[in-house]
Point group: none
Chain length 132, copies 2
DNA sequence: TGAGTAAAATGGTATATAGTGGTTGTAAAT
DNA sequence: ATTTACAACCACTATATACCATTTTACTCA
């Protein structure tokens, strides 16, 4: 399971997209976790992987304030998404708003352990900035 | 496994090429990784080799932002390519666009540990500039 | 509270286009 | 002369998109 590549897909008015085949075939089953990512994008994780990796974050001390911002973002933004049998799903409103979607096109990009969805323009700007 | 030589091949409208035999016979099996390379070309690596070099980027904390740029760059630019039994494969759209392909000819060149694919004109200009 | 209405979510179908596999042609190499 | 590598072409399949219909949810006002 490694997420690769960069794909341009269209978004309907209701926030529905068809996830690219090359990304989808890396998701076991038809369920995954979609949450807020760094730099105004949304990030998708395999459910098992998500549960395994968030495990440690569930056992922090009540007095531990470190990373509280990131922990809030990660968990409050998380949604369990079910992909329909045509490979489509709806990006929840809160995440649409978080990613600042303005056009009707997004980039779906693989980042190894997870994939990300970006407003297309924002991705292009970012990619230029970090010189991809 | 050493990639060398310079070959000119044609590209179809859909971005498909027949990889030169001399390059192909250095690829173990029929799979390799095609990524964005330096100076607007795309670069092909053996899969094992690439995975070995990127493996440590797969197991970072969900809260770790430090090398996110690097991870996005490496993985979003990479594609797992399967060569068909006639030695053909399609260069993904994002990479076609990255390499600035204008004509219907590319140069496939060996660079030791990897091979590269260039828009032919760009390669000739580059080769002239660096006085090869 | 509950019926009526509007809006959104969902499921399905049709269409265009991109991807894939196969055949044939041609020129070069053996 | 036969084989091989690459090119060109065609046909079929898979995927992404747009569109429409139905269901569900939310909202309003009597």
């Amino acid at each position: 399971m490694v997420f690769f590549g960069e794909y341009s897909v269209s978004v309907t008015e209701g926030g529905r997209i068809a996830i690219p085949k090359k990304i989808r075939e890396n998701i076991k089953g038809d369920v995954f976790i979609l949450t807020k990512g760094f730099d105004i994008c949304v990030a998708g994780y395999e459910r098992d992987d998500w549960q395994r990796r968030t495990g440690d974050l569930m056992n922090v001390s009540l007095l531990e304030k470190d990373n509280i911002d990131k922990r809030r973002m990660l968990f409050s933004g998380a949604n369990e998404i079910v992909i329909d049998d045509q490979g489509r799903f709806v990006i929840p409103k809160a995440l649409i708003s978080y990613m600042g979607l303005v056009t009707d096109r997004v980039k779906v990009v693989g980042v190894g352990d997870h994939f990300e969805i970006w407003d297309e323009e924002k991705w292009l700007k970012y990619a230029k900035k970090i010189n991809i």
